[in-house]
Symmetry: C2
């Protein structure tokens, strides 16, 4: 044991419906002594992501459930404090799937070294990391947008949605975003170049608003939210449309299996495709796609925004805020100064 004190966040209990503070527990413990091959990392930024809600439940899913009494894990950008691993040295920036903690000890597997001169290190948690890859794979490998087609993205102002819309613009599509708030919609159209954005919270008739924004129907739907927003989009899909299901944030906190209009008939009569996916399905393409995303970011063709909450103590609030729609762009928690 070193005498360095660490704090972690554990899953205290599994939530039913919307999680609250009682499902989380902060603990303190000393950082263990480093063994050969290990590296000690101080957390700088934690990523909070909607998919983590799924891992709080016991249900079988693509991502293994968190264990009750064990720490949350997620994307973390940190700085190497001490290294007994020849691949890393003190002072380096890294990111990896690590515990929600102020410090992590890692054997180096899955850790990625970051070059802060190439891009701000936080981008490893969004546009140049999992959310960026998620956007890229779902849009291009499932949606397969063609020039002139109409692409709709829900959850459009989030870390994934903002990248989806901008890539679709680069591919020559008409891009319509759906988001919850006029400020978010203004960001999409004025800063990111979306052709239209719809504030679903302000629309009494979402389908009508969508129909006006998509006069030629919907060819590609990138779905982050599900529920009634998706019902409206699916009612407007074109022949041979493609829907990539990336997330269903509106449904994650449901306490019983959600019911809604059946989509099978709509898929049938339009010869359309709907496919769920997780970023790791396409892991063999990570390297080339990250290179492409990095180039677009450097060239200013993909912009991003971060919503940063300060302080490890506020991690849970930042996470729960995802379900309230608090964030524009990527939601991060800043744990320590770079």
């Amino acid at each position: 044991m070193s005498n360095l004190l660490n704090r972690k966040i554990l899953l205290a209990s599994r939530p039913v419906g919307m999680p609250d503070e009682s499902n989380f527990e902060f603990i303190e413990e000393n950082v263990p002594e480093l063994q050969d091959g290990e590296v000690l990392i101080r957390s700088l930024y934690l990523s909070v992501d909607p998919y983590m809600r799924g891992r709080m439940s016991a249900a079988k899913s693509y991502a293994k459930p968190y264990e009750v009494g064990q720490p949350f894990k997620g994307g973390v950008v940190g700085k190497v404090v001490e290294s007994k691993n020849s691949r890393f040295e003190a002072g380096q920036y890294v990111d990896g799937l690590l515990e929600w903690a102020e410090y992590n000890v890692s054997d180096g597997s899955g850790l990625r070294r970051l070059n802060p001169e190439m891009a701000p290190v936080t981008t490893a948690l969004h546009v140049l990391g999992m959310p960026g890859l998620t956007a890229y794979f779902g849009l291009l490998y499932i949606g397969e947008p063609k020039e002139g087609e109409t692409v709709v993205v829900s959850g459009a102002s989030g870390a994934v949605g903002t990248v989806v819309g901008q890539i679709a613009k680069l591919k020559g599509c008409r891009v319509v975003g759906i988001a919850g708030g006029d400020d978010k919609c203004a960001y999409l159209t004025e800063e990111l170049g979306f052709d239209a954005a719809i504030n679903y919270k302000a629309e009494e008739n979402l389908r009508k608003a969508l129909k006006e924004a998509c006069p030629n129907g919907v060819d590609v739907y990138f779905d982050n939210v599900g529920g009634h927003v998706s019902d409206a989009v699916m009612s407007l899909i074109n022949f041979q449309s493609r829907t990539a299901i990336c997330g269903q944030i509106s449904q994650y906190n449901a306490d019983k299996p959600p019911v809604g209009p059946r989509v099978a008939g709509q898929l049938l009569t339009t010869s359309s495709l709907m496919k769920g996916f997780i970023v790791s399905d396409y892991a063999q393409h990570n390297k080339e796609c990250l290179a492409q995303l990095a180039q677009w970011v450097r060239e200013g063709k993909i912009k991003y925004r971060e919503t940063i909450v300060e302080g490890f103590d506020n991690t849970i609030d930042a996470f729960l805020g995802l379900f309230r729609g608090d964030n524009i762009g990527k939601q991060l928690v800043k744990v320590a100064e770079e």
Copy 2:
């Protein structure tokens, strides 16, 4: 005008819910004189198919709605009575998309000459025609079954389902059929080699029965019926499963948009695909696939059964019987002797 009397069946009115006799009208009229390039065909067999229900409604779909006051069209096998088209001569067997009528006059486009020595001419309306191709394309191009996987097909004892299951067996899969009746289920397992068949009408807990029949889950689902049968199957899909939506017969007569468990979450957490299709999506492959189907039929690897109703007068009853589940294998109407 010749003095040859013809009878036709028209769409008298659009049904709400289950169609009945009042939606159909028989008319009599003389066959017109043949013009150059035309051919006169006497109907021998009419095909009645579930998708025709969709065409009775005005709603936009993959198949154009029938017009009120105009004849139904569908697959017809007939014999050339007279020809002013150099491609055809009297006495030849043909099939094509023709009117529900005792006689059709055609300009020859879309007409296929049939060789009765290669296969019984009725097979052009099922295993060596549209239903056979539908089974082939949906199973192999969307389902992509791999050896050892579990394939479930609903509407398993119909013209499409029987072919789906037998091709899946040829590909080395475990095949489970869902059908409505013990006689149908016995046909599937005893005559067609399905590994298991479930009579959904007799099961109080369809999901439980399916789970027992699919101990390794469901990798491919070929869906002809939709509704609660599909709900049970979808609850058992495996990671990266594929669902081909071929039909939704349980929903065709619904008088309001059907509601049920949302599938998007299930597709998401299993990285699964669901795709609707129509046989014409793959028309460029018709020739090679028909050749393959014909070979399997000749080799006895694909068997078929026909349910034949005698008499043009009974066409409507044969059609409505599809929705009552009257048929095993392909439902045909015999209009005249070969």
